[in-house]
Amino acid sequence: MSSLIAPVEHGKTGGLPAWLAHLAASAANWPGAYRAQLRASPRRTALLSVLVVLVFVYPLLNRVVLQPFSRNVFPLPVPDDTTVVFMLIFATMAIGLNIVIGFAGLLDLGYVAFYALGAYTAAYLASPHWSGLSILLFSDLPAGFPGIHLPFFIIFWAAALVAAIFGALLGAPTLRLRGDYLAIVTLGFGEIVPVFFKNLVNVHFSFGPIQLVNANLTGGPLGINPIDPPELFGIKFGVINGFNAVYLLLAIVIMSIIIARNLERSRMGRAWMAIREDETAAEMMGVNTVRTKLLAFGLGASFAGFAGAMQASYQGATTSDFFQFSTSILVVIMIILGGIGNIWGVILGAITVQYVDKTVLGWAGNRLKDIGNAIGNPDLGQINPSQFSFLLLGVALVLMMRFRPEGLLPSRQRAAELHAAPPDQALGSAAVMEIEEEVIEEAAPEDVEATAAAPDGGAAGEPPDTPGRTGDGS
């Protein structure tokens, strides 16, 4: 019976061959698993299958049918390739921020900083910016070409790594902070990083052997360009190959989904959720909250690194203007609207917000113009809905909070928190207990120091589990 108490044993695992065999077996098993799913929940599986097929066919459909139709027959609000690319870039960021806010419950309002770090990392490693150098790797540029030009598959991971390192660096000093305080510090970080990139031009600096005279570190307000487009296996994915880029981004989003899902279902994911639910209890149950929160910050930030690398490489230019505070807020709004905690929800949120912002509003403006011309009132065409995007987002947010606070596709946790408990819950004696405890807590003062300061503070209240370690004397 005492095997119950012993921790699980760690037998030898087969290593790489076993892993490959496992992957192969899973792949081979896939059709069977799919059929089983189809039998278990036919409608849901069928719907999802159609959706997946649609997602992969859509870019083609868009290019071959929708865009020409929209141009020649009747204007539809169909997004162009760049809009789709940015829908997916923001979806990647939403997946990452959902790890920090949704899983671990750490309100991060400076997420744009990691997006910027990813973008500038990509810019540094694939542009003529460092014109004094000439480092070419797997590049078809002529020898001696100025700047660093590394291949995209290195840049992509380097950007994620840099973002993750800075994520952990931001996490380190803020670990003792909870809730609002954390939000304020991350907000500050989100402001500092873009300002840094905007101003580190004409830098004069001297420290020991380091001598910088009029050094241009970040390109200043002009940013860095031209940045090499992403290129894999000889296929280019830059802005002039938007159609290819959509598929590259789809692959990145799918990879992000798999990573986030795997993390969610692991020991780490459970530890994040435990911290979100009750940080003190999690700590007492053996979760190293410092390391776990750093990991949430770092891994969450790495997704913004992916997104930043794509932004810079796809557009071939990056400036600090891309990384305003409002972008941080935009990503937070996306995950709130979509459904914090649910990966599919936050993707839906990101795609919806980007689509409405970049496509629907512009389309609506043009239609207003058409209508204005048709009814002989050209003033109607002066209204530009795109200018109202944040106003509309605000209204949408207010309406959501009123009618569906858990988001479009909520996680089960959020839905339960924000709605009354269903009647079948066995709350009987627990509810009674809660009332009793409240009475007891009122009788025994919570704040010990207040008791001590009271004139006849004889009976010291038991300090209840106050947050944070009380570290006096150490």
Binding site: S2, P7, G286, A430, A459, D465
Partner: protein, 286 residues
């Protein structure tokens, strides 16, 4: 579990049990909150295999003492060792304390006075979080779903189910913690604490808010924890029937100091204890 050879466990006073038979050895532990001395120079021993109770009026410093054993509060002064490992030690004037997760890893599990489960996680996940400290998979194992992670998750889940079965929660594995009835929540907290593979289990008022039959079940459960799992138990409890019924030894705290200790019968008869609980008049009448 057998008591030590020689004198019966109940009669032993702090300092009388040889150190190698002690699971917890606390000396001169003091905790100040500002000007208030919550725990004042307390010596306290827990022999291996014992069920020891800590009682006292509200505000006597019981929970504060608990929180120092688990590393949640850093004492102002004092030494606490557990199973030969220092949890709190003095280095000159500086107090060094292990962090709560390190203490958990050493083998101390606890429950809370006010239930603190992870409320929107399933019973099973709550127990799996308890195993966290003994699992070895890293985040990259999770991302790649390596054989290490798969094997470990399978074993951990199996063990979590076994623990839930042991506590009679087998059918509730996939229910959210907060949707469980009150008594089940108390038991789930114990299951989660057992998942940390403790040698010492700290129970903070495990029968609070329970009716007579639920209290009996809980008392039986605590006995089973020692008999079947070989655990040492430290209990904070207000229900004197529970305390007197299952404890080998009882220590009474009042105003942060040890007022009395010994067997339940001795403590019950101690006039100072009666005075602390019922007032001076009652002690004189008795």
């Amino acid at each position: 579990m057998s008591a030590m050879a020689g004198a019966p466990l109940a009669e032993l006073r702090t300092g009388q049990v040889p150190d190698d038979q002690l699971l917890v050895r606390a000396r001169a532990v003091t905790k100040r909150f500002g000007g208030l001395v919550a725990v004042n120079s307390v010596d306290f021993d827990i022999p291996r295999g014992a069920i020891v109770s800590l009682i006292g009026p509200n505000g006597a410093g019981k929970t504060t003492f608990f929180n120092m054993i688990t590393g949640y509060y850093v004492p102002t002064r004092g030494d606490i060792s557990f199973d030969g490992h220092p949890i709190v030690s003095m280095k000159g004037d500086r107090v060094r304390s292990k962090k709560p997760h390190e203490v958990t890893a050493l083998g101390i599990g606890r429950t809370f006075q006010n239930i603190r489960l992870f409320s929107t996680m399933s019973a099973l996940d709550n127990v799996l979080v308890g195993q966290h400290v003994h699992l070895r998979s890293h985040w990259w194992d999770a991302v790649l779903r390596t054989p290490l992670l798969l094997a470990e998750e399978e074993r951990a889940t199996e063990r979590a189910h076994a623990l839930l079965d042991f506590l009679g929660l087998g059918a509730r594995a996939h229910t959210w913690a907060r949707n469980l009835p009150y008594g089940d929540q108390r038991r789930l907290e114990i299951a989660r604490a057992l998942a940390t593979s403790p040698k010492l289990l700290l129970l903070d008022e495990p029968t609070a808010g329970m009716n007579a039959s639920e209290t009996r079940d809980m008392t039986d459960l605590i006995r089973r924890l020692r008999a079947e799992l070989g655990l040492t138990v430290l209990l904070i409890e207000h229900d004197m029937r529970v305390v007197m019924g299952i404890s080998d030894r009882v220590t009474v705290l009042d105003y942060g100091e040890v007022l009395a200790e010994g067997s339940p019968a001795e403590v019950r008869a101690n006039p100072r204890v009666i005075e602390a609980y019922l007032g001076r008049g009652a002690a004189e009448e008795g």
